[in-house]
Subunit: 404 residues, 2 copies
């Protein structure tokens, strides 16, 4: 007589279900399918030979440390290296302002754990990163979405919502923004709006969680100071990662914030996974210290810029005039909008038949809208596959347009 | 004007404070101090040369995969390898019964996340693993402790407590046991009690969480079937780890359980850290496939047995007759009990002056007792340091005995 697992789940676990995307993407295992779905970096951007060499060095000179438990906050040398790199972008902090996390997803989980009690509100962009929404949801919060335009989150709507929420007695803990080349939309929060966001955060006594994985992958235009660098009261928690500039396989990211908050997060992390793998930290430390990271990022930017160009040109060429899409200046993603009457989850089945995959937009929208949108990634597929994938997708969309 | 971080914490984060031990152990940085405190494996047990060789192979043959994101459930080949090894101990399961976690601490965190809502009860041993207590606490549960003797948790007391809790309308979600060479006490749950535990779990419709990191580190005596292998209704979640048989630096462990529960845990893990570092999984997979693990474990058992012997002999020689201690048949730890009037947190300050450290017992006790106990680890220090450390500690204790 088997137990009924449902008898045992926590209230929140009972509500956490496999994402539609996760299930959908299992369909993409077929090698004939060109996937514009995943957010995986191009393996050609990984410095394999350097990592091989460094790993040998680390295991030869430092094995007793590299294979042992390590501190929860992370390797001091690596944190120092990250701070030194950030200082070039006018981000300043001390060792106690930064800790290592096991990928930025753990940063998001710790943000949820640190700040969200059931019923608290997290404000997010419409659309926003799906796995961040899931992390926050796993702490029982309510999510309120703010629409975006080409300059990012709309500050007038944000202010209105903050007033509204305050009046209804709801406690907003933080505003979550992916400030550069947003996932999924590809848009960047403008300088003016960053200033306004900080002002609103102060006025309403809420934190800002700045998720910033793509900042260094700018293809053109002038970089904008990070919200973290502009804010002076310690209201910003900023997440950065090696996943997009070195490789995701080491599961290495960092959290920046005021010292009290970082200390609290270290206490929480200790109960979560004790420490991040130290061999990866030693490898990243050696790589950063070698001074090679900057050149590597520059050459990676060239790879991704070309891919973005191919995707935008293909969209121009193959997508029908009834559609529109974002034009990212960096990052990995484009969001395309189709006519309202097309549901991209339905369309997905047809796309798969034509051997092309994307991510339907709706799960990225905290308000459940965006059914006519799709996320298209140019990071992983080859230039040829991007062109061919968009061509196939254009055909599928065209077939589904209503005759005028 | 800096923000007040306390304004923003979740209810549970507000209650999570740095453990006394964590703070205390910072004092142990002094190289003159012999530490019997930490639970770190002896680096001499790490197969450094094999790991070096394998890592080169993995990065040469499989870099695009080794440095990329990977699946949340973990590398199928590695899970299969673990299952094949477990089958020798009569543990049987399919691929969907096992997932990889980022160390067993993540397993404990996911157990908390999956099962514990605020107010739910987790039953634990008195004493129990501190970081497990913290993981469960971080989900707002109530912890109820059951005393142990040389055969582990007392089943008569457990039954009584289960009845009592049921009568007061409390929902017990699981009973947490470290079944072999318990941390901190070093005791092993007897076969008879394992049977009884399963019977009680079924009668009261509660799960058993079997934490089993030390099973393979048995120095003598016959191994006892795991609770997971004995139970047939899917009521047991079992945690195993590479940290004590290979090395902790890769942060690799596994969770066994019924398929529904493993699927739910994978959904929760995805929101927690997306995936465990794949390079470590590929290394562990190659190492396990090489067939070297069994020999390695055997030679490690010899290393730890010798250390245990030295510690037990030194205790006999240097600890005063007013004290007693557990005699573990495996694992890393001994718990010593001093006269009731000695508080080991107070005593710690004197011990540090004598350049020896241990972990005070009280934080391991969910009921706040055990103030006269201490955990002594023989895993990390050298044979000489174990002898000398116990000698110093014996002197400190003797000085604090009341004159008769």
């Amino acid at each position: 007589m088997s137990i009924n697992a449902n008898d045992f789940y926590s209230e929140i676990a009972a509500k956490m279900n496999a994402s539609a995307i996760r299930e959908i993407l299992k369909l993409v295992q077929n090698p004939k399918v060109i996937s514009l779905a995943g957010g995986m970096p191009d393996p050609n951007t990984f410095p394999v030979e350097d990592i091989k060499e460094i790993t040998q060095k680390v295991l030869t000179e430092n094995s007793a440390r590299a294979l042992q438990y390590s501190s929860t906050e992370g390797l001091p040398g690596l944190r120092r290296c990250i701070l030194d790199n950030l200082a070039k972008d006018d981000v300043h902090g001390e060792l106690d302002n930064i800790m290592i996390s096991s990928g930025s997803q753990q940063g998001l989980d710790l943000v949820g754990k640190a700040f969200l009690s059931p019923g608290d509100v997290a404000i997010v962009e419409l659309p926003s990163y799906l796995a961040a929404l899931n992390a926050f949801k796993s702490y029982g919060c309510e999510m309120v979405g703010i629409p975006m335009d080409d300059d990012g989150m709309k500050m007038d709507v944000l202010k209105e919502k903050l007033i509204q929420l305050k009046n209804t007695g709801k406690r907003v803990k933080f505003i979550y923004t992916i400030s550069n080349f947003q996932n999924p939309a590809g848009v960047t929060l403008s300088l003016e709006r960053r200033k306004k966001l900080i002002e609103l955060a102060h006025d309403f006594n809420v934190l800002i969680v700045e998720d910033n994985p793509y900042e260094k992958l700018r293809f053109e235009g002038k970089s904008i100071p990070s919200i973290y660098s502009m804010e002076k009261n310690g209201s910003v928690v900023s997440l950065g990662t090696f996943s997009k500039i070195l490789c995701p396989g080491l599961r290495l990211a960092w959290i920046l914030g005021n010292k009290e908050i970082i200390r609290k997060m270290a206490i929480l992390k200790q109960a979560t996974d004790l420490c991040t793998n130290i061999i990866g930290q030693l490898i990243a430390f050696e790589y950063c210290s070698s001074g090679k990271l900057e050149n590597r990022i520059n050459s990676n930017v060239n790879i991704y810029r070309k891919k973005r160009d191919v995707m935008l040109n293909a969209l121009e060429k193959y997508f029908p005039p009834e559609t529109s899409w974002t034009k990212p200046q960096g990052g990995f993603f484009v969001v395309a909008s189709l006519p309202d009457y097309i549901d991209t989850e339905e369309l997905f089945k047809e796309a798969i038949k034509e051997n092309v995959a994307y991510v339907p937009g709706s799960p990225f929208f905290a308000d459940g809208k965006g059914k006519n949108t799709m996320r298209l990634s140019f990071c992983y597929p080859s230039l040829e596959d991007i062109e061919e994938g968009i061509k196939r997708l254009g055909r599928v969309i065209s077939k589904n347009l209503k005759k005028k």
